[in-house]
């Protein structure tokens, strides 16, 4: 009998040990799932200091990954996410988002109304804009002197193994479609075939696909041409002033990233506090200065310096936004893109 007692004591201790390793005390937390390189660490730390809320920050590098993470995790795992336009639409359709209660956000008036009420979420019932981004071609003029005005120019054999691209199938296949005069969101198989051939033709020139930071390739001179997000290009420019930005004549891919709260989020009031904090003019200024995407916050815009305002890679010109294209939800046809992507790689 004593042995049985001993065994059960050992088992209990063991289980206690197991549990103690895993459980954390119930402090106030908010689980944020965001793009990598979007909010500087310092902003998160100062939010934590100011509110006493602990931020669990994890990242994703494509909208699809965001969707996959939110839908595969237990409901309520994430409290705040930053999906782009078309993904907001998908998530609304799948009833994955909470309605936003804008009355909980004191600073919501800071947003520029130009960016509100977009077609993917009329009336901003589920989402509010965070920043805008656009693809751009960045060229290191130390080594490349040719004129580049079109995606077609990237096919030049001189650029062998010298171009890096964003690792995002919709954006890159979209680029190939634009280059060949098609709609960026087409599901027409013939058009996609043309896009595939075009990308295969481009492939020898491709050094690497990198979703998160093709800028490193430019900065370390690993590659002299990159198709990347505008803020990344602007950051590369900070390291090397001979980097030039080109918005190709076929148009750029645009992306508007938004705050959204997944359905069933457990720490919603903390999530609202986090959104409200970021909407503050001075906080958004810090974010924009670290990651110079297109700012959509009117109150912040007046605080930003000329470095930001006169740089076309960070402060995207209105004409580019007008002539640009958003990725759209193409439903089931995404499988076509998926297969094409596997074929190119």
């Amino acid at each position: 009998m004593r042995n049985i007692m001993k065994i059960s004591v050992v088992y209990c201790l063991f289980m206690a040990f197991l549990l103690s390793g895993c459980s954390k005390q119930d402090t106030k937390v908010v689980n944020v799932l965001n793009w990598s390189s979007y909010i500087p660490d310092s902003v998160i730390r100062s939010f934590e200091k100011e509110t006493g809320i602990q931020v669990n920050y994890s990242t994703y590098s494509s909208n699809e990954e965001c969707l996959a993470k939110v839908s595969s995790a237990k409901k309520g795992t994430y409290d705040l996410i930053f999906p782009s336009d078309y993904m907001i639409e998908i998530m609304i359709k799948r009833e994955m988002l909470e309605l936003l209660d804008q009355t909980q956000l004191q600073n919501v008036g800071n947003l520029d109304t130009f960016y509100l009420n977009q077609s993917f979420d009329p009336g901003n019932r589920y989402s509010l804009p965070f920043v805008m981004a656009s693809t751009v071609i960045a060229v290191n003029r130390d080594y490349i002197s040719d004129e580049i005005i079109s995606y077609q120019d990237l096919l030049n054999e001189k650029y062998y193994n010298n171009i890096t691209l964003i690792d995002d199938q919709r954006i890159i296949i979209g680029m190939a479609l634009l280059a060949n005069g098609y709609d960026m969101n087409t599901t027409d198989e013939e058009a996609l075939e043309v896009a595939k051939d075009w990308l295969l033709q481009l492939k020898p020139n491709i050094k690497a696909f990198d979703s998160d930071s093709p800028k490193n390739f430019l900065v370390t001179e690993e590659a002299d041409i990159a198709v990347l997000w505008n803020a990344e290009a602007a950051l590369a420019y900070q390291e090397n002033n001979n980097i030039e930005f080109i918005y190709p004549k076929e148009g750029s891919a645009l992306s508007m990233d938004n705050f959204a709260i997944p359905k069933g989020a457990k720490h919603q009031s903390e999530a609202y506090q986090f959104i409200d904090y970021i909407l503050r003019a001075d906080v958004m200024k810090k974010i924009i200065e670290s990651y110079p995407y297109k700012n959509v916050n009117q109150a912040t815009q007046t605080l930003l310096g000329t470095d930001y305002l006169y740089n076309i890679a960070s402060n995207i010109p209105a004409s580019i936004i007008e002539s640009g294209f958003y990725v759209e939800n193409i439903g089931e046809s995404v499988k076509l893109y998926d297969k094409l992507w596997a074929e190119i790689k």
Binding site: I4, E64, E65, L67, A68, A208, T220, V334, D338, A342
Partner: protein, 284 residues
């Protein structure tokens, strides 16, 4: 329940719970969803279909399989080439030195493999240490392309998996009877002949064991291909990862995984047919 039964219960319960919950359940579930239909955007519909398996045999995905097998095969081959002379050289040392050297082999292993891949990135890139040293010495004029291509991937794979070849090969080389080697050279056999006629046959279990432990992981190490291959190449690991984390087509990802498991099983059956023992795997 008497005390004897309770003892048995105590010793057997954990392993049964473990095997059924953490091994059998996940695999059965994956097998199950590989026959599901994927719906529009990530959901799964539990109607039976074999469409996912038909899709796997599309030319595009077959080529991914072939590429992965090719990379894993080359990696295994290079690991064998490097490991044999290495373990033979070690086995000629004193026992104490052997112990120390084998411990040293394990040291890099205790940092994370991803961190070591980052180290390779710093070494191999265009402006990396190796190119700078070589250019500084005047050996080359233009930087070499050592990564973002096949070379980078193979270096990364061989580096990461080499210890899995060295360890089993070492333990089987240390069982070779030194008198046999002496006798062989006394009888006038050349070094090559001794190696192929005596050492290789005697160390076959270790060789098979090591090959298995190098080959199968190499099929799945997506992060090496991502980092040192520049995301330009797709092996099975990337394909499965994409299906689960990007394309949201879990049933298809599950089907690829099941095919991968079948390939692995074939390798294991071959290993057993060749006389390999399961309990030698993962021993070290």
């Amino acid at each position: 329940m008497n005390s004897k039964k309770l003892w048995k219960f105590f010793f057997i319960c954990p392993v049964i719970i473990y095997v059924s919950l953490l091994i059998a359940l996940p695999l059965i579930y994956i097998l199950l969803i590989s026959f599901f239909q994927s719906d529009y955007y990530g959901g799964m519909i539990s109607t039976f279909t074999i469409q996912n398996y038909i899709d796997v045999f599309d030319q595009v995905y077959i080529s991914v399989f072939l590429k992965s097998i090719f990379i894993a095969g080359i990696t295994t081959f290079i690991c064998i080439l490097i490991s044999y002379p290495f373990v033979l050289a070690i086995s000629h040392k004193k026992p104490r030195t052997q112990k120390i050297l084998m411990t040293l082999v394990m040291v890099p292993f205790l940092t994370n493999s991803l961190i070591r891949m980052y180290g390779w990135l710093v070494l191999l890139r265009k402006s990396g240490v190796i190119n700078q040293v070589l250019m500084g010495l005047g050996v080359i004029q233009e930087p070499l392309s050592l990564m973002y291509n096949m070379i980078g991937i193979i270096i990364g794979m061989v580096y990461t998996l080499l210890p899995f070849m060295i360890l089993p090969l070492y333990s089987s080389v240390s069982t070779v009877d030194p008198y046999l080697l002496e006798a062989s050279s006394d009888l006038g056999a050349s070094k090559m002949k001794t190696f192929f006629k005596i050492i290789v046959p005697q160390t076959l279990p270790g060789l098979f064991n090591g090959s298995l432990m190098v080959f199968t992981p190499a099929l799945g190490y997506f992060f090496i291909v991502d980092i040192l291959g520049g995301g330009k190449m797709m092996i099975l690991g990337n394909l499965i990862k994409n299906q689960f984390l990007t394309a949201r087509n879990w049933p298809f990802g599950a089907a690829i995984s099941i095919v991968l498991v079948l390939i692995t099983s074939l390798v294991i059956i071959a290993y057993r047919k060749l006389g390999g023992k399961m309990e030698d795997l993962g021993g070290a």
